[in-house]
Amino acid sequence: MLTMLCLLLAGLAMLTLPALLGWVGVLRLGCVGAMAAMAALAVLALLWPVTEVLALPFGPPWAAALLALDPLSAWFLLLLGLAGCFASLLVGPAPRHELVAYPLFLLGMAVCITAADGFTLLLGFEAMSLASWAMLHERRAARLYLIFAVFGGACLMGALGLLSAGAGSLGFAALRAAPPEGALALAVLAMVLLGAGAKAGLAPLHLWLPLAHPAAPAHVSALMSAVMVKVALYVLLRLVFDLCGGAQPSWWGVPLLLAGAGSAMLGALRANLETDTKAILACSTIENVGLIAVGLGLALMFRGADMAVPAALAMSGALLHVMNHGLFKCLLFLGVGVVLEQAASRRVDGLGGLLGRMPVLGWAMLVGALSAAAIPPLSGFASEWLLLQALLGVWRTGDALFQFAALVALALVAMAVALGAAAMLRFWGLVFLGRPRSPRVAGATDVQGAGRPAVLLPAALCLLLGIFPGLALGLMQPVLAQWLGPAVPGPGGVFGLSAGDAGARYLVLPAALLLGLLALALWRAGMFSAGGSAARAPAWDCGYIAPPPHMPFGFPDTQPSGAGFAQPIARMLGAPLLAGTDVVTVPPPGSPVPARRRAGTTDPTWAALAALRQARHGLSGFLDRLRTLSIRHSLGLMFATLVLLLAVLAVLERP
């Protein structure tokens, strides 16, 4: 099976040749095939876990590169395979370097996921960052992105070094054998949180994300948002959960929990305020990463407290959300790409009324948006149910610290979930409902060709995983067994999920069936009741006059705009949390000028970044004075150095 994996990786590497020659068709076909094969391979590896480690014939000068495909890797590889398969369907003509970078991006992620030693892990990690950097279009975003990536990589290097203090080598087996203890382990945790957090977009290291994701072509930002941040979370899982061993204290989960809740809140709030569709989706990625981090933190807490069942609950919730978010976010980004190509706009204020023009895309994206909004019976709700159940169970640990942390986290997560729902409604509603805001939108046609499977398949998977979460949890069982021992029961079942303790269950299948039946029954009833089919008329809209004929879609200003729709939340939450400004200028009575509203928010973390930049600037300016020394002074410097060293020597040699 590992040899299969190697062949796939080699194939991906080979795909740079057709990319170099500009054969888009071959590239697309190859990427789709390779990714599909990878997903199949991952499923196989989950059904029949692979334990052996494969040493590649090449590697760094000091050791061979190792590959492995244990259940944890396989789970993330499955996500990569699926999302990569869907995204690759939309690979289109592009500048040469972007074509070349794309397969390398996929390759980097795959290598990082399946690596079995520190060097290979980091090699894949950095290659992933570099390749995706090459595909960004805006220089500022690209710079910030790459610098954050370098920061993450450096922190992870340090973490690996500290981790390997006990073991000689960097192979995962050796590291597992000698887990760190005490302050060293703490340093490892901090380093990994910084490194992986910077890549996953955990607050306060999330600044690059809403800039970088919109700057890439649709299929790339789909992969960045759906898989790349998850790869960072995989690294976190691998280093903290796996390699640090099971003996770590229980409070390790707390920072992860709070950071996760915070970024969930922040991301969801920003998602409600952005007006660029891709930025909205990127911010919702921050939110979902935060939710996953909450789950992981809870899992650490429970394991530390020797509560295997809730630990399994939290862990499976997090992992399931990894998969769900990957799928629906991939779907949404791809859909936005299609919309951009059809309607030539990314801003919600430039779109509208697309459901009538692109029904297939619209309904598929509705499925994605609803499962992103955690609405039963779609996939998002299942994983968030597990996470909330885990949060509701923290009080059983009986430790005041955890209890109050969980209290705060619960309030934040609840608010984040509601905000996320609001953001998704705003996103989908403004884009697909209402009236077109530009002629180009009015002329849009529905998604064709390769785009259809690219959006329909993930939508179908969202439905499937929503109604049968047991499937995913069954596949996930080996991961839990690998981490908590084979005895632990997973929360999955045929009819739905069960939270272990007394009878808290989410019977999604019957609920979905009943829901469908009831809706159907009501519909039939409505049909039978007299009155007949519906008639059409101009919208009443509290008596607005019908638009003049030269404006077939009415005045755009009579529709809620992105900023207008965001106004209540901006005033209720944005003003206190994001230093929001909201200035309304009302013209004097009788003047024909419309009232104008100028609103804006700034992420407080920008201030911190600016302070750092200021400090760097000042320090470099100070040190740069050394450069202007004359020859004699440089000689003097040399002389002083020599004298100093000799003096040190003289002191050291005093008997």
Binding site: L355, G356, A373, I375, P376, W385, L388, Q389, L392, W395, G398, A400, Q403, F404, L407, A411, L412, A414, V417, A418, L419, A421, A422, L425, G429, L433, G434, R435, A502, G503, A504, R505, Y506, L507, A511, L514, L515, L518, A519, G526, A530, G531, G532, S533, A534, R536, A537, P538, A539, W540, D541, C542, Y544, G554, T558, Q559, P560, G564, F565, M572
Partner: protein
């Protein structure tokens, strides 16, 4: 066996009752409010009459309205009705009891809310969008309170399954009424906001700038409007039933106990519902509506109460 049949029968009866009772409850509230204002007030069945009348009218769709407008009423109504079926009424332990998870309940209500908001945005009118935006922002503040109240109940009863919870609370052995009382107040506030009642919204007005719920169904008509009215009524019932079941669980009959026990439970349940409706009417006519941007403060107080309740429970569990 016999228990299974009884639980099925109880469930069917409950469903029927819910469906029949919801508009009546609305009518009751309006009647009391009218009385308190010194008017004679409409008969209790007036809402039913309106709904039936609307059902017979054909809907008129706005130009550019999509299938969303046509589909959402059914989905929202079905979701709310399912939620109503899950909340124990005169009896607990009905067929759907295992499904009655509080989080699922919240999810179903969220589904209904989202459907409503989508319907409001479909025609692309100013007021629909405004109503949707306000509804979602208010829910943003209601959700944390709800979750914290659920945490309180889960800690008291040891589960989030509503049915088991009701049984536990009814059979007593639960101390700490203080935190339960605090949670009750908080949950009441949530219920008011969720049902678009005073002080968050005025159900009687059509003055555009003050309304939330009505703004979203401005374009609805005919049977769609009927379904929306029905959904609103069902939602009110769900919340009242929830409050009464959780905080006044006395006399909720075990479904297997048979018709005798049901009758008693039925009496008590309707008493609780109408009592709550009366209290609501009095409350609404006693106070004025808040500015929309003041509602977060209102819910913030509720959040504080809920957090206090949770903290008290932490302390007690820590002591115990």
């Amino acid at each position: 066996m016999i228990a299974g049949i009884f639980s099925l029968l109880a469930q069917l009866l409950h469903a029927g009752l819910v469906l029949a009772l919801a508009p009546v409850l609305i009518g009751f509230v309006r009647f009391i409010k009218a009385r308190l204002m010194g008017r004679r007030g409409p008969p209790l069945l007036q809402p039913w009459r309106d709904i039936l009348k609307l059902l017979r009218k054909r809907p008129v769709l706005a130009e550019g309205a999509t299938a969303i407008t046509q589909a959402t009423p059914y989905i929202a109504c079905a979701a709310t009705f399912l939620a109503a079926c899950l909340v124990p009424g005169f009896a607990q332990g009905m067929v759907l009891a295992p499904m009655a998870d509080l989080l699922l309940l919240a999810g179903l209500l969220a589904l209904a809310r989202l459907a409503l908001a989508l319907a409001g945005m479909d025609a692309g009118t100013a007021f629909g969008g405004m109503g949707a935006a306000r509804e979602m922002s208010l829910s943003t503040f209601a959700e944390p309170v709800l979750l914290l109240c659920i945490l309180v109940l889960a800690m008291v009863a040891g589960t989030t399954n509503l049915d088991t919870m009701v049984a536990t609370l009814r059979d007593g052995g639960v101390g700490l009424r203080v935190s339960l009382a605090l949670a009750a107040v908080a949950l009441l506030a949530v219920a008011l906001v969720e049902n678009a009642r005073m002080p968050a919204d005025n159900p009687a007005t059509h003055l555009e700038l003050t309304m939330v719920h009505e703004a979203m169904i401005l374009e609805a008509s005919g049977r769609h409007l009927a379904l929306w009215e029905m959904q609103a009524a069902l939602k009110l019932l769900v919340w009242m039933a929830l409050l009464s079941a959780v905080f006044f669980p006395w006399g909720v009959a075990p479904a297997a106990a048979g018709p005798g026990a049901w009758a008693l439970g039925l009496g008590l349940w309707s008493g609780k519902l109408f009592g709550l409706a009366f209290a609501l009417a009095v409350f609404e006519s006693a106070i004025a509506k808040l500015r929309i941007f003041r509602v977060p403060e209102f819910l913030g107080v509720a959040l504080l109460l809920a957090a206090l309740a949770v903290a008290l429970l932490f302390v007690s569990t820590g002591l115990a």
